[in-house]
């Protein structure tokens, strides 16, 4: 293992966060606060509680997931897209490092950033609604697994994308709709049967559900299924990354 290289990449990536502090941390916190003011306080006060949980508290895990997913993807994709775009990737490719080390450095930094962000969002949310965490350890596990798999997913997008449009296309065209329709703001049980079945094809439903379970101890979907889904997605991304490096896809001519 080339630990110095992993550390160099990790620190380099984290430094960028400090340089762009406003964009990386303040903006998401701001938008989450707005969600809580609008959905939690204004609209939420008129919505009856869901499964015995006040609406304001109910949306906390979903909103955190929403930010976690989008931020992981954007951190993961930008981290590797930028060197490709600026040409500095030559140095990564010519360095004595394995693809595992590259992935650990970039994806580790991307996931760290989004986990930090999720923690900040949870703390912010606490200012608006009083929620409890029923299974803190599982909460951390879901947080961690989701951050890592979606940073990895972002990393793949960053390698695949050869222009800025593509870089932004996947998050805004696929991930955001899936997250909104993934039960962040409502319980799947509230949907008519047909739409409930359609929704079950949305992988993000399982993540949100699992995460929500760790807060309230209850969920639409069995927590084991949620965990299985999260691990499956992680495995899929790992396999894709392994294939990318093995074939040199979009990295080595």
């Amino acid at each position: 293992m080339n630990f110095y290289a992993i550390r160099a990449i990790y620190i380099f990536e984290m430094m960028r966060t400090w340089r762009t502090l406003l964009q990386s941390i303040v903006a998401p916190v701001m938008s989450t606060s707005l969600y809580f003011i609008v959905f939690g306080a204004a609209i939420g006060s008129r919505i009856a509680s869901i499964e015995g949980i006040s609406y304001g508290a109910f949306i906390v895990p979903g909103l955190t997931m929403l930010s976690l997913l989008t931020q992981s993807i954007s951190n993961g994709s930008f981290g590797i897209f930028f060197p490709k775009f600026s040409g500095t990737i030559y140095e990564i490719l010519s360095a004595p490092i394995s693809y595992r080390e590259i992935v650990i450095g970039y994806v580790g930094a991307a996931a760290s950033k989004s986990i930090m962000l999720a923690v900040i969002i949870l703390a912010t949310a606490r200012l608006f609604v009083a929620y409890e965490i029923a299974h803190p350890l599982w909460m951390v596990i879901f947080l961690f697994l989701t951050a890592v798999s979606f940073s990895l997913f972002g990393f793949i997008i960053g390698i695949w994308a050869d222009n800025f449009e593509k870089l932004q296309l996947t998050p805004s065209l696929i991930v955001t709709p899936l997250t909104f329709l993934g039960g962040s703001f409502y319980s799947i049980g509230m949907l008519p049967p047909f739409w409930r079945n359609v929704t079950m094809a949305n992988p993000i439903v399982y993540l949100v559900s699992g995460f929500r379970w760790s807060f309230f101890g209850a969920s639409d979907i069995n927590v084991g299924v949620s965990l299985g889904f999260t691990l499956g997605f992680l495995l899929l991304c790992l396999t894709t990354v392994w294939w990318i490096f093995k074939t040199g896809y979009r990295l080595r001519a």
């Binding site: 080339n2 600026s86 040409g87 010519s94 004595p96 490092i97 080595r252 001519a253």
Partner: protein
């Protein structure tokens, strides 16, 4: 002597189907300065990128300092530094941060003294805390050199290090390359300035259309191909070249005032020509010789092979 880089049977076909390199065999020896010449698109960068691990070869092997660049890439790459042809820098980083990053990336523990020494040697010390985007083009190129030297490589590739660099800086760069050589670093550089290769290189390789058409010791090359030209200013004009001197294949200028003799210094026939002229009582007022430059040699080589 064991070569420090040994390339054999190297070939590259890009995904587009274009064959950029064909069957390259080349040995580079420790401590030498090797200049790779060739017209645009000849395959110089492709070859360097393969050795450095940026491009995958289609066939053949490369061994760097005893390590196969694919099977034993860690050991091989940690010995190599690369300054690529294109300027590519992290615009928002400081000089110090980007050079330190490179050292870490190549698996070396932090060594502020070495980084400081490198930056000083490249006259970048006063810019160490500046963001790269505030530097000039020539400074950016020196930052890239500092990055390549940050991990103390034994082999340094410089892909057109002096493109777009002013005269003074070019000389500085030559000096730097020589001082690196003095510390035992092997330098492989490409350039389109032939005078640079003539000035710097111990050996010269010429690539044309993906094939290595020539590898020679620079001095040997100059001797081998370096035709000399002897020009005589005649006291009295001639109307034609005397038949007795036909063997020398002389050329007479249009106005008949100059005789030009192109010769190979090894043939040792200048004396005979002088004697011949003397016998014919052809007197001259001035005499000058010139030697063809590497540039002419290069152009004739690349032209000769369509």
């Amino acid at each position: 002597m064991q070569p420090i880089i040994s390339i054999s049977g190297l070939g590259k076909r890009y995904a587009s189907g274009f064959k950029a390199l064909t069957n390259i065999d080349l040995d580079i020896y420790p401590g030498e300065i090797f200049a790779l010449l060739g017209p645009n698109g000849a395959g110089k960068t492709t070859m360097i990128n393969i050795v450095c691990g940026i491009v995958n070869p289609t066939e053949g092997t490369v061994v760097a300092d005893g390590h196969d660049i694919r099977k034993d890439y860690r050991a091989a790459r940690s010995k190599i530094g690369l300054v690529p042809q294109e300027l590519a820098t992290d615009a928002f980083e400081t000089v110090w941060a980007t050079v330190s990053f490179s050292r870490g990336l190549f698996g070396k523990p932090a060594d502020p003294d070495h980084i400081a020494k490198t930056l000083k040697a490249l006259s970048l010390w006063d810019k160490k805390d500046s963001k790269i985007l505030t530097l000039s083009g020539g400074m950016k190129r020196r930052v890239m050199i500092a990055k390549a030297l940050s991990h103390e490589p034994k082999i340094l590739f410089l892909d057109e290090p002096t493109a777009g660099v002013d005269v003074e800086l070019r000389r500085g760069m030559w000096e730097m390359v020589r001082s690196l050589q003095a510390t035992g670093v092997t330098v492989i550089l490409t350039t389109h300035y032939i005078d640079e290769a003539e000035e710097m290189a111990d050996r010269i390789g010429v690539i044309n259309k993906g094939e290595l058409v020539l590898v020679e010791d620079k001095t040997a090359l100059m001797n081998k191909f370096g035709k000399k030209q002897l020009t005589l200013n005649l006291r009295t004009r001639l109307t034609s070249i005397p038949a007795k001197l036909a063997d020398f294949r002389l050329e007479l200028s249009a106005d008949g005032s100059e005789l030009v003799y192109a010769f190979d210094p090894h043939d040792d026939k200048v004396g005979a020509l002088m004697k011949g002229l003397n016998e014919l009582h052809i007197d001259f007022t001035d005499i000058r010789t010139s030697q063809s430059s590497l540039e002419e040699i290069f152009v004739s080589l690349v032209r000769a092979r369509p």
